[in-house]
Symmetry: C2
Subunit: 433 residues, 2 copies
């Protein structure tokens, strides 16, 4: 089983910072984050993941700590105090240049000794466009076409240095072998990049590629590139269908099924007893303001829900092809609301919390049971663990759930290799020049 | 006196890696770099600086380690193992987006507790354009116009969060004060950015702004923004003129003369005796290949010198307004070659080494003498120290020269404040919203 831990300021639940257990001074404290990273490594978590966005709605800041550190800088910092845990940063292909992205991940990979991963996102929040000189997001299809070409360019740049290009021959005065450093001469639809990269080949050959898009375009991108997939799956059956779909698309793209690890999100609350866990969950539900959920729903669906009353019927959604936001999320919501008579409030209460993720509140054994069930029944290669609570939420998972998984033989007790790629059973990316 | 140490893979001299003292396994070793950073902090060096470029000429890799880590990731790593030393990263305004740059520096400032600095460059190497979808660099004037607007946008983004925006009131459910987080609504010639930043106000208010351009446009930019200036000055007299020019431009721009620290570059080789230092210098001169100097000259002047024989007369240079590379460097070279009959080889031998920087090879006392002379005679507020040798070059400066400066009362023995800005005698940037 592969476990990725989401590092999120103040817990993954919107109301977590308001919970009685939350220590407010930890939320933006780099020292706390570094200690948590070390603790995750002591539990042999495969990787840490930092989500990201490139905009903020000023009025949203009142509802919680949705702003934090920038992923590449934070993970470079964490790299220095850890030795084996993987470090996965979210970076958008829509609002960056491939040369810069290739360099920063190559640098993080060198700094960490081969532990960098890149979560490729295309950014579906319309407002982000306004921070980059655009009036609108590029259309969904174009964003994914760009992402595909962008990723290809980044791979070419990582590959532009052969493994053994470094010579360091003092007497001959040859530092690196000119014949093993290649301009890439990429000329595509969206990008023109000559190369070579001005950083040597990363220790992993290529940093790990991670993907979370679930639209058809997202899945096609994942099948081509992704070595780890984060996905939102509410039930075992949904997860199994997704799992089979992705594995077969990966095979169709000419890759082995083992070359991609599928990790459904797992929203988790650990209790000493089931009652304690459910009580925490119930307390959290009271603390997340519904206005904030309306804002998130608006962002994800690309339409303004704040103009409706909470007790109005859920408004009619546009056709998928008219939506330039998160298409897969749009489909999921339509499936729910098309077959039911729901008010906006009812939808948010019943279906929204956790945006459709698998949620488990219970004892360590109960949580391990669910994880085991999904894992052995072809629904997951592991989990993208999102502790709901702020202070103690991640620690409880590491201290209590991980040992149960290890006792059951589901999760390893030690890193066997130095690089992220190798610890996931993948090979360092070799070159055939 | 303010001292900035340049962290450069393998020493600042092109031939340093070939020197008998160079330990080749240190050059790309993150652990060595982290240790050196800690050693610099133990010597109370004000800041570490990492130069940068966004391209590489494949054939140049044979001549030495001109490639290394990317500055923001490397400095985030260094931030974690140090507590007081400043961290200055070079980032180009021509090949980045202001929203991304504002975020990464804000994040580094949070990670380091207020020690981030940004060396603003416009990038004058034509080849870089090819890595970013362009056929040519934007013209010199446009690059500086962009740099000015870019920096203004970044400042607005840093200022978009008021100091006390964070509320964290659990009972009221107010995390941050919506009235203290402001969209910036920037609409300029080159950039349109709505804001706000999605990271809280950096600990320094604004990370330190650093500049090194020496053309008229560069000096105008420096007068408006720069709090630290790196400059290339071969003689005391040149440095005094530059110093007066910049201080008076700074005053004309409505700032105090103390608000900018002028740091000429200092290429340094420390010996136990003068003879030993001169011998090292002479050994280095033999090791730097002249072809590499021809390549650098070509890049800096934006014309190809490899087509000339080394024993031909130095070719005629175009008029300054026809040059779209490093204009100030072009002027400096013209001043030298217009009044002399020189071959290309003679120019490179006599004038090129160190690109016109102040160079001192000698004992610690001799080096301190030169630094003191410049410092007390209005030529420098401190120095941008570039150890010429790889292994031991920086260590020798820290172990031997710094104590002499401290004994003479020219350089402090301890950091007094937590932030870079405060240790330089500058105030954290306050806001008047």
């Amino acid at each position: 089983m592969v476990l990725n831990l989401v590092l999120q300021n103040g817990g993954s639940h919107r109301g977590a910072w308001r919970h009685s257990s939350a220590k407010l001074d930890e939320i933006h404290d780099i020292k706390y984050i570094l200690k948590l990273a070390q603790k995750a490594e002591a539990s042999r978590i495969d990787s840490l993941f930092i989500a990201d966005g490139l905009s903020i709605e000023a009025k949203a800041v009142q509802h919680g700590p949705i702003f934090g550190f920038e992923p590449l800088t934070l993970l470079s910092s964490i790299a220095t105090v850890t030795e084996r845990i993987g470090l996965i940063a979210t970076v958008s292909t829509t609002f960056n240049e491939p040369y810069n992205v290739a360099r920063q991940f190559a640098s993080l990979d060198h700094i960490s000794g081969g532990r960098a991963g890149w979560n490729i996102v295309t950014t579906g929040v319309e407002r982000t466009a306004f921070n980059f000189g655009l009036d609108h997001l590029p259309p969904h299809t174009e964003r994914y076409e760009r992402a595909k070409e962008f990723t290809e360019v980044v791979q070419k740049l990582w590959d532009s240095w052969e493994q053994d290009a470094l010579v360091q021959d003092k007497a001959a005065g040859i530092y690196a072998d000119v014949g093993k450093v290649h301009d890439i001469h990429h000329q595509g639809t969206y990008y023109s990049v000559r190369g070579a990269l001005n950083i040597m080949r990363p220790p992993q050959g290529r940093p790990l590629l991670v993907q979370a898009g679930a639209s058809d375009e997202g899945k096609a991108l994942a099948a081509q590139f992704a070595e780890m997939i984060f996905t939102v799956q509410p039930t075992l059956e949904d997860a199994q269908l997704f799992y089979q779909d992705i594995k077969s698309r990966t095979v169709s793209a000419g890759r082995t099924p083992e070359s991609v690890h599928i990790l459904p999100g797992l929203l988790v609350i650990v209790g000493n007893t089931e009652e304690e866990a459910l009580e925490k969950a119930s307390e959290l539900r009271q603390l997340g303001p519904i206005e904030r959920s309306v804002m998130s729903l608006s962002n994800l669906l690309g339409m303004d829900f704040s103009i409706y009353s909470l007790d109005d019927p859920f408004p009619k959604l546009p056709e998928p092809e008219q939506v330039n936001a998160y298409q897969s999320f749009h489909k999921m919501v339509r499936k729910i609301v098309d077959n039911r008579t729901l008010t906006l409030r009812e939808f948010l209460d019943k279906y929204w919390v956790g945006s459709g993720q698998l949620r488990v509140a219970g004892t360590a054994e109960q949580i391990a049971d669910v994880m085991e069930e999904w894992f052995v029944n072809g629904a997951a290669d592991g989990f993208n663990v999102m502790p709901q609570l702020a202070s103690g939420g991640a620690e409880d998972f590491l201290d209590r759930v991980v040992p149960v998984l290890q006792r059951r033989g589901l999760f390893p007790t030690a890193y066997e290799k130095p690089t992220l790629r190798e610890n996931l059973g993948l090979q360092p990316h070799a070159l055939a020049h």
